[in-house]
Amino acid sequence: MKKQEVPQHPGLFGGRRAVCYALDEGGGYVLAPTAGWNPVNLANRQAWEALARELVGIHGEARAGRLSPLAYHMARRQMDAALLARYTGLFRWRVRRHLRPAIFARLDRELLARYAEVLQLSVEELCRLPEAPEIEVPEIDETEESR
């Protein structure tokens, strides 16, 4: 990659720049600033969209009373039962059980506090389901295909 070919498609880093390796006019390698590259912006956005889709689905299930609020808050932190189990130090099967509304409703304060701490919420927030899913697909303004 030559220095003049280093893509400058803003996206992932906000106003910031990352650096990459490119050749200058003399054929020597230099660190060149890059605002981003469309293929990466696209792949990143698709990953976020997949997470958002999943979150909307889980929110719907939780609203309908088929999943506990914990399932929603877990997904919002991009976690699954396995990862949340590792964070809380609980067995995976226990976390899975707690995704069922009836079982979640009976949890004691201590266990709720443990989940809340990991998920960066208060116990009250953990037990509540927000009206609408809080989707955070970071803004990526994609410049139209170049190259």
Partner: protein
Amino acid sequence: MSIPFVHRQAAHCESGATANLLRHQGLNLSEALAFGIGGGLFFGYLPFIRLNRLPLVTYRKGPGGIFKAATQRLGVRVEGRRFRDPSAGMAALDELLDRGIPVGAQTSVYWLPYLPPALRFHFNAHNLVIYGKQGETYLISDPVMDEAVLCPAEDLRRARFAAGDLAPKGRIYYLTAVPTVPDLRRAVRAGMGEVCRNLRNPVPLIGVRGMRRLARVIEGWPRKFGERRTVQHLGHLIRMQEEIGTGGGGFRFMYAAFLQEAAGILERPELLDLSQRMTAIGDGWREFALLAARACKGRIAVAEACPELGELLRRCADGEEALFRDLAGVIR
């Protein structure tokens, strides 16, 4: 308190942190040189390790490996610690900072508030240097950022003690003794030798064999997964290869930069040719990402793109196999 630590932006976190820590002790190395001496270049297709529930593909060796190998080969003495108890881990960090020692740390990216939101996924092999503390805020030189940043203590604690695959367990590392005149030539050759071995090794999922395996696997994705899931896998590959921290082309350009620098150090001009070939291979990897992105965007059907992607990958594998055979010849 704050240590006068010079922040230098790098393409990759671990080689950047390594180079910056060495430089702080008066050993002025570029990031590419630290990467090359550390034998950082790698390829691994590791489907049993999952990242966001997708198979891990890595273009560099495991977390901590570059720092360890680079410092060892340069004769630098280091100390590394992990902690079971987060409070003990934070206390140990503060104590080192009080002694004026900048500290490298392995962290998750998810919990670091200063990183751009788009990059914050659960990935646990990030590296940064902590060089000061003011109240409950740490001063951090994160190699991928364009300037030094601040991070609240609570967030840093979470990031250091993140759970999941590659959990950092509070790992910190720092230099204790640096030789005034390290044997650069020997270190460079050792780093090259390791990469030659790793990329041309007999293990099926590692090195050029791993690339060829992945090429075969990709060709099967449209049938196995269908459109949507294939697109997800392809997008994941693009991100592993290009999203922040590889310097482009899955570290291949960084390695080409290293070969160029090494040509001067070892006084072996033939390494310049190898550097050019490495650049061409890096361009091949970029081409792969570009085509994968076209498939993700629906500009080309996945059933059509995947065989072509497999072919591109095999071309990269062939190029690297020949290159590392020749490189092994140069350093023999």
